[in-house]
């Protein structure tokens, strides 16, 4: 099985003054098209760092990120911007919405970034409809015009999920999306992601430290001491 997204020998260290703090020491990770992979690991083990490297938000010190067999981490800025906009969907641990925009406008943001003024005006009905549909889907049909300041944490997180998915990305990178939610809300979010994963054939890499959630995935990997170790779910 060829992998949809993969990383080979990812290394990343942060410099704190003169001391170099190694975070990733040669991470190999991959996910097949449509596969749902969860990443577990202790806090500070570098899970977020790995996700950022996979999603081209940062560049590795060494190693490669490969999408559909093509190396992408060394592409020029324009192309990386484009890949972030079209191919990847991000869900962050802190589910940040832009406070000046309403829920639906926040969800439209990937499209707003993609389109110029004129193409936006041409496509604006479709763009808004997509955003509204997805908000409806995450159960926020009644919160379209609300400002983030008028929404609860769970609602904001679901809006952020809608934002990550509205542009129909191929790869969803989620960094502890349920970390700040109570367990039933968290489970609701996970069910939603799982459905989308099945429906759209979405490749998902999801970071969590909740075992309950991790084991609903097709595969679980563990990040520890800067390296990935496979976990065989059956053994747990």
């Amino acid at each position: 099985m060829t992998s949809h997204i993969a990383a080979f020998g990812l290394r990343k260290s942060y410099r704190k003054g003169k001391i170099e703090v190694p975070v990733l020491g040669g991470v190999d990770v991959d996910a097949a098209r449509g596969e749902f992979v969860t990443v577990m690991g202790a806090s500070g083990s570098g899970k977020s760092t790995m996700l950022h490297l996979l999603g081209l938000l940062d560049q590795p010190d060494a190693g490669q990120v490969v999408l559909d067999g093509r190396r992408i981490d060394d592409r020029p800025d324009r192309e990386r911007d484009r890949l972030r906009n079209r191919t990847f969907g991000f869900i962050f641990q802190f589910y940040h919405l832009l406070p000046e925009l309403s829920a639906v406008e926040n969800v439209m943001m990937p499209h707003l970034i993609r389109e110029g003024v004129f193409s936006y005006i041409r496509k604006r009905k479709q763009i808004r409809r997509d955003a509204e549909e997805l908000l409806d889907r995450v159960g926020l049909g009644h919160r379209m015009a609300h400002q983030p300041s008028e929404m609860s944490g769970g609602e904001i997180q679901r809006a952020a999920i809608a934002r990550a998915l509205v542009a129909r990305p191929e790869v969803l990178l989620a960094d502890e999306p349920t970390g700040n939610l109570d367990s039933s809300t968290g489970q609701g979010v996970l069910d939603l992601l799982r459905d989308l994963n099945r429906e759209r054939g979405l490749t998902m890499i999801l970071v969590t430290h909740d075992q309950q959630i991790a084991h609903q995935a097709d595969r679980v990997v563990r990040l520890s001491e800067g390296r990935i170790e496979e976990w065989v779910p059956a053994l747990v």
Binding site: L57, D58, D81, L83, N85, F94, H96, L98
Partner: protein
């Protein structure tokens, strides 16, 4: 698309940033008001200067002047052709004016004595327009000492009182003769027109000016005489009117007297034929003619007539220092006021830097969603431009409104402060003159926009350079 949406939203939701452009607004408004008022003043002043001064003046370098002014005028006509509309020979000389009046110590003042033929002078520039009697009524350009003016002398007044007394006819007859002779002594036969500010005391604050030289009163003039050694001469004149142009420089120095009388008194008449000399020929030129070009041509012609003797100048050259002074004042004020806007630029810079820090996470999200570095930079540049546009737009509207209603505002302020803010008697303008020059307004607004955008360049670059991961990890 997101750039425009975000700029627009930032503009509508960040009132603190709007506060930072208040100084842009005030700066733009102040600059527009100051420039409009100064341009108005300068314009009015040019108008009046030009009104009083003839378009072109041919003058001799010596005070003794020249006798061949007919020849000079013929050459001017020859060179200028149809462009020359009217000419007036004039004798201008510095001198002293002495005003004495019963019960008051005599006053002497330095003046510019201008000998003219009034009808000719009236043709070459505004002159007749500025002549008034004591009641403020216009009078014709003439130096004639009429019977009505004679009757205003002290003896004339006594005579009038006598005539209205019906009794005592014998005494009256002898007394009348005496009074008549007195009157003719008191009233010199030649009239003089005094600059209004020479003839009055200005009290200010809405009180009437006090005349120290009434019409019909005798005044004495002293002036340099044509002689082997420098020597002064003097002559008496009767005040027949006042010259009030609104240019205090003229109104406080000019004394107009009949040309021939001044020539006689200064001993400027040729022994051979009694013809007097003049030191200026004032020329009125057809409207729209190129003054500078004509002045050059005339200068050349005058050099041929008599080398190194004549000097031809335009009215603007004559008043060059004054006009230049106004222009310098205006540019200094503009520089100072522009500093206000520049200061506002630093305010924008500070507030923008704050906003960029506050928006760190937003910037991280935008970049994660695929926004480019240039895109993020343009959000803040656009925001700066928008703020500048709002600030200078409001400032422009406010400034133009202020200029439009400046006289009403002045009246209101005068009532509140209980004294006149704009003392119209200083400049004799009944309203504050204003002139809105579109190119000035455009330049001011463009300058303000430039500063607003300039001030946002640094914060915008910082925002654009922000590393997305650092921005996302920002607490």
């Amino acid at each position: 698309m997101y750039k425009y949406l975000l700029c627009w939203r930032y503009l509508r939701t960040r009132y603190i940033a709007l506060a930072s452009i208040v100084s842009v607004t005030l700066g733009v408004a102040t600059m527009i008001v100051v420039n409009s008022v100064m341009a108005g003043f300068a314009d009015k002043m040019r108008d009046r200067l030009h009104g009083v001064l003839a378009d072109l003046i041919v003058e001799s370098r010596s005070y003794e002047g020249f006798w061949n002014y007919e020849e000079v005028m013929a050459r001017v006509k020859e060179v200028g052709g149809d462009d020359v509309v009217a000419m007036a020979p004039t004798m201008e000389t510095p001198g002293m004016l002495r005003i004495s009046r019963g019960g008051r110590p005599a006053e002497s003042r330095l003046v510019q004595i201008i000998g003219v033929r009034p009808e000719d002078r009236a043709k070459v520039g505004d002159f007749a327009e500025h002549l008034f009697d004591q009641e403020g009524n216009r009078i014709p350009p003439s130096f004639e000492v009429t019977d009505a003016i004679k009757a205003l002398s002290p003896a004339g007044r006594d005579l009038k009182a006598l005539e209205s007394d019906p009794e005592d006819t014998f005494l009256k007859e002898s007394e009348r003769e005496w009074l008549e002779s007195q009157r003719d002594k008191q009233v010199p036969i030649h009239g003089a027109i005094l600059g209004y500010a020479l003839a009055t005391y200005h009290l200010g604050n809405g009180r009437d000016d006090i005349y120290i030289a009434d019409i019909g009163q005798k005044v004495a003039l002293a002036f340099p005489m044509q002689a082997k050694i420098p020597q002064t001469g003097a002559d008496d004149f009767t005040v027949v009117g006042y010259f009030k142009s609104g240019m205090s420089e003229y109104d406080s120095t000019h004394v107009y007297v009949p040309l021939e009388e001044l020539q006689r008194a200064r001993n400027l008449q040729r022994a051979s034929d009694g013809k007097g000399s003049v030191n200026q020929v004032q020329i009125k030129v057809r409207e729209g003619a190129d003054l500078d070009a004509l002045a050059d041509k005339l200068q050349l012609a005058m050099e041929q007539l008599s080398p190194m003797f004549f000097h031809v100048s335009t009215w603007e050259q004559k008043q060059g220092p004054l006009l230049a002074a106004v222009a310098i004042e205006q540019s200094i004020l503009n520089i100072l006021l522009f500093f206000i806007i520049a200061v506002a630029g630093f305010g924008i810079l500070a507030i923008f830097s704050m906003i960029v820090v506050e928006k760190t996470r937003d910037i991280g999200i935008l970049k994660a969603l695929g926004a480019s570095t240039a895109g993020v930079r343009n959000i803040f540049l656009g925001y700066g431009l928008l703020l500048g546009a709002v600030g200078s737009g409001v400032g422009m509207a406010g400034g133009l409104l202020f200029v439009r209603y400046i006289n009403e505002i002045e009246k209101g302020l005068s009532v509140i402060l209980k004294h006149k803010v704009f003392d119209d008697s200083i400049y004799y303008f009944d309203r504050i003159p204003t002139l809105v020059e579109p190119h000035t307004v455009v330049a001011i607004v463009a300058g303000a926009l430039f500063i607003a955008v300039g001030a946002s360049v640094w914060p915008a670059r910082r925002a654009a350079k922000m590393h997305p991961v650092k921005a996302l990890r920002f607490e």
